[in-house]
Symmetry: C2
Subunit: 226 residues, 2 copies
C-alpha cells in the first residue's frame, strides 16, 4: 500500500520505518524538504537529523506535505497537534479527497510547561477540527494514546495485552486502519463510534501525561479490562 | 472509623453499605433528611427510595450534609459533581477542617444529553475547585473512574487486575485513602501527585462514558499496563 506520512519527527519516522519494514511504499512529508534534508543537528529530544536517519532507511521517500499526501492511498497525520491549521493548508484539500486520513496527533498546548493542557475544549477534538476542514477526507483517530514505539509494536508493553481506540465517521476507513493496526500487532481494537468520540482518547492524554511523570517511562498503555 | 458520606444515591449507598460491612460507623448526608426519608418512589434509574434501602441497612445513619460531615473522621463526596457549590455551602467549612475529604464525584454537565461533557475546563478539575473552596480540608481524588459496584469490589471486573488513581496535596490523607482502597480489594493504586493531577482521572470520563455506550455495561476499568 502507498502511505503518506505527514511529519518527520519521532512519530513520523517510527511509523515510516515500521510500514516500510511491512512492505509498504512510504513517503514522509515535511514543510520544506530541502530544509529537512539540510539539517545537521540533533533535535531537542536528541534524535539525529532526518538525513542521518534516512541513510538507514533508504526506501522511505521524502517530499512536501502535499507530495506525501498525494503519494498515499492512506495518509497519516504525525505532526504536532497545534500545527494542524498550517499542515492542512499546505497539504491542500484535493490531495486528501476520499482518502483515509489516520490522525495520531495530540492537540497539546506546549507553551505552558509540563504537563501541557489540551488546545481543544471539552466539547471538541483535533480529529473533529481536521474532519471539518477536510470534509472529503475520511478521518480516523487512533494510536494517539501511546508512545511511538508502542504504536508500531504493542508487544513491547505487557506482551501486547492492552487496548487501542478507533473513532471515525466512515466504517470502511476504520476497517482499513484496523487492518493496519493488526499488522502492527494490535489485538484489542475498540471502535468508539463517530469522529466526535475522538474527544475520549484525546482527553485521555491528561492522565497519560501525568502517568509519564510518575512512571518515568513512556512504555505503558491502558487495557480496558472487562 | 467514622465515615460521613455526602449523597444518598447509588454511589453514596454502595459506599455506605460496603463501609458498614467492613465495620465502620457510617452516616449518609443529604440536603433534607426528612424529604429523603419521606420519598416513596424509585429514582430515575429505578433504585428504590432511601427508606426501603435503609431497612436493609439499619446501621447506616442519615443526617444533613453538615451532620454527616461532622460525624466523619473521613468524609466522602458522592454527590452529583455539578452540585458541589451548594453541597460545600451546606456542609459548612468548619465541619471539614483538617479532615480527609475523598472526592469520588465527576463534574458532568448532564443538561446536554449523552455522553455529558465535563463542566470544568481542561485546566481545572472538580477536586481543585473543592480544595480551593475548603482550604482546610485535605481533599483526595480517587475512585471517580469506576462504577459504584467496582469502587467497593474491584474483584468484580477481571479479578481485580486493574488500576485506580490518587490525587491530593496531603501525603497522609492519600495514605489514609489508599488503606481504605486496599480494604475494598484494590491492589494497583497509582499516586499521580498533587490535587491538580485530578484533571487526568476526571478527563478520563470522556473515554469512559463512550466505552459505556460501546460495551453496554459499566463493569469495566482501565489497567495501566507497564
Amino acid at each position: 500500500m502507498k502511505v503518506g506520512i505527514l511529519g518527520t519527527a519521532t512519530v513520523g519516522r517510527t511509523l515510516a520505518a515500521r510500514l516500510g519494514q511491512l512492505g509498504h511504499d512510504v513517503m514522509n512529508g515535511t514543510r520544506d524538504p530541502k530544509a529537512t534534508q539540510a539539517r545537521s543537528d540533533a533535535d531537542m529530544y536528541g534524535n539525529p537529523p532526518f538525513r542521518i536517519w534516512s541513510e538507514d532507511h533508504p526506501d522511505i521517500g521524502l517530499g512536501s506535505f502535499a507530495e506525501a499526501a498525494a503519494h498515499g492511498d492512506i495518509v497519516i497525520n504525525a505532526t504536532a497537534g497545534g500545527a494542524y491549521l498550517e499542515v492542512v493548508r499546505l497539504v491542500g484539500e484535493g490531495n486528501l479527497e476520499g482518502k483515509v486520513l489516520l490522525d495520531v496527533a495530540n492537540p497539546l498546548d506546549t507553551s505552558q510547561g509540563m504537563p501541557p493542557p489540551l488546545l481543544m475544549s471539552n466539547t471538541d477534538s483535533l480529529a473533529e477540527q481536521i474532519q471539518r476542514l477536510l470534509p472529503g477526507a475520511r478521518v480516523v483517530k487512533s494510536l494517539n494514546t501511546v508512545n511511538a514505539a508502542v504504536m508500531v509494536d504493542p508487544g513491547r508493553v505487557g506482551g501486547g495485552d492492552h487496548s487501542v481506540f478507533l473513532s471515525g465517521n466512515d466504517a470502511d476507513a476504520k476497517a482499513t486502519v484496523a487492518d493496519l493496526l493488526r499488522s502492527f500487532g494490535w489485538t484489542d481494537i475498540i471502535d468508539l463510534g463517530d469522529i466526535t468520540t475522538a474527544r475520549g482518547p484525546e482527553m485521555l492524554l491528561a492522565v497519560w501525561l501525568r502517568l509519564l511523570g510518575v512512571l518515568r517511562t513512556p512504555m505503558y498503555n491502558f487495557k480496558v479490562v472487562r
